[in-house]
Subunit: 354 residues, 2 copies
């Protein structure tokens, strides 16, 4: 077969998403989705009248959605850009703020998609190891001259960086953009959003996939000073101006406006997480301190890959990364009590039989 | 305000989408949407049960949608990739098949988004002028060493290139990818899809925005040999693996399966176009021969910009491009009889008053 790939495309590092099996019903604790349905206000807003308008383009400026997001955070709409999931927004940021002579830095153990996107734009990437205990030492980033991306809380560890540490990074070099990926912040991290007006080199990305029950709607957004948002819009309008479809615009707006449901779902996840951590520790697991809607846990008696495979055979999907430093762990989404109860029962059975 | 833009981002050429006004009700003939609602099978498929699953990620492989598209065209699913509109697919193609030393060529008068995407990836672009009468001379492309993009039918002219001409290009250099953008092909062009198995350097892109009533759903796709599709998937999984949301996957699948409605809508557009062309010519307009769901017309008595402005004041939106060679024209979407009837009445009134 001929190879038509450009040199740049040959250098890509495509991301492997978590399994989305279609063959059988699993207890799905592998992609950090919310175990709860979307807000009923979302379902109501997706009316038949709206479905019948699908022949018309969506609003490329995402006016209503951005207004709802801005209102929620006490920002101006000019501080907001929305995307087809926060993955798209992150790609826009990599293009906007990095390039030849403008490298990007991120941790060795973090969302592996940063590596894919750095390769997409042919960026020089500096990979900075976390400490032995998986905490991030901001001092390691102080002198780095390019953009910095920090997932906070981090994935797959679930561990959070104190806001004060990010602040030090922002102040150390005001000409350097710091991208804080807050996909999981609503479950316990300290958000950097309140610092946006203070630091014009701060970009915060968030998603509606985890805490707002819209993984299937693909809605993410970034918050930052006007200059950063304008830069991201330059990229968006060079890539895909109508980047969010009509129904996701409506769903995202309604989800953002239903604060009570959002709060209650986050609270339930935090309670379920506490229960899950206690049970796992009771079974002898070492669990990293999680501020996210998942836990990263090591069994000790079974390697991570083996644990993943046995659970899958029992109809339970968790995520295992066959990568250095984290091979002993599995990442488990904090599901409903029914889901994590079944997981804990299965683990207890499995370990008893060893 | 500080400028955080990378050198690459400073070189961008963002696209200006057609107006999507939110202030008043216009007769909207400016963005080539279908005047008809989506298939009722689309509306039915977007059931409450599906809305309630929005908390779960969409299928990144787009299995059902790709299967429906493949079935419609008699291809294998491995010959199909779907995207968040065909704009996204085109961007994937620019990254996959072009790069340093691998330039891209396109016409001077064509979909201006190619220029935006070439800039996005820092590509060297060769802009090849159409003939004086806006026809494309494939001989001008014969010796070009890089990838070629041809909109067929072309936008904004609506004029089609014979399939035989594309075939000559494909054969002239089998190591060069030819991307045929068939966004408007269902209204009268000769599709290159039947040549896919014969030429492994042929990529055809299409969209559901025009002929399948789903502009607001954002569903586009590319058809080609397995090597080309695999290359596009490398880019997709480096950029945004979950690139189509759940509801658009469902809508696109249902739209593709409702062939009767698709055929009937295309037929109506062709009939309405014939009527519109006749009326415009009756009013003294010069109209380029259109194979698309729009016509490109020159008034003679009023400059294009003036015509656009006067129509907008009267509540009718058409598209005007303030660019060399096409400044005298306006692009008018072939709407419903009610819409184009109102347009023709207004034009008659306007010209009488001159």
């Amino acid at each position: 077969m001929k190879n038509f790939l450009s040199a740049e495309a040959r250098g890509l590092a495509p991301y492997t998403p978590g399994e989305q099996p279609r063959d059988q019903q699993y207890i799905k604790l592998n992609t950090n989705e919310s175990p709860f349905p979307p807000s009923l206000k979302v379902v109501k807003a997706l009316s038949r009248a709206e479905l019948l308008k699908l022949n018309l383009y969506s609003d490329p400026a995402c006016t209503q959605l951005n207004a709802a997001i801005a209102a929620h955070y006490g920002l101006h709409p000019a501080n907001v850009i929305s995307g087809n999931g926060s993955d798209e927004i992150l790609a826009f940021a990599f293009r906007a703020f990095c390039g030849a002579g403008q490298p990007v830095a991120y941790a060795d153990v973090t969302y592996s998609f940063y590596q894919s996107q750095a390769a997409l734009f042919g960026l020089e990437a500096k990979v900075i190891p976390l400490r032995e205990d998986f905490t991030l030492n901001v001092d390691d980033y102080m002198d780095f001259p390019g953009a910095i991306v920090i997932a906070n809380p981090n994935a797959p560890t679930g561990m959070a960086v104190p806001r004060q540490d990010i602040q030090r990074l922002l102040e150390a070099n005001p000409d350097r953009v710091v991208i804080v990926d807050e996909a999981y912040v609503d479950f316990g991290g300290e958000s950097c959003v309140p610092m946006i007006f203070r630091y014009d080199n701060l970009l915060v990305t968030q998603t509606m996939s985890k805490s707002r029950q819209l993984a299937g709607g693909r809605v993410g957004f970034a918050l930052g000073g006007e200059a950063l948002i304008e830069a991201l819009n330059r990229v968006k309008y060079s890539f895909n101006p109508y980047n969010i479809n009509r129904l996701s615009l409506i769903a995202g707006t309604a989800a953002m406006e239903d604060d009570a449901y959002f709060q209650s779902c986050c609270e339930t996840v935090r309670k379920n997480r506490a229960w899950l951590v206690e049970e796992l520790e009771g079974l002898g697991f070492a669990v990293l301190p999680s501020s996210a809607n998942f836990v990263f846990a090591r069994c000790g008696r079974l390697p991570g890959g083996e644990l993943y495979r046995r659970l899958k055979e029992s109809g339970i999907l968790v995520r295992w990364f066959d990568r250095e430093r984290v091979r002993d762990f599995v990442r488990i989404t904090v599901g409903s009590m029914e889901q994590i109860g079944a997981l804990v029962d299965e683990l207890a059975r499995m370990l008893e039989e060893l």
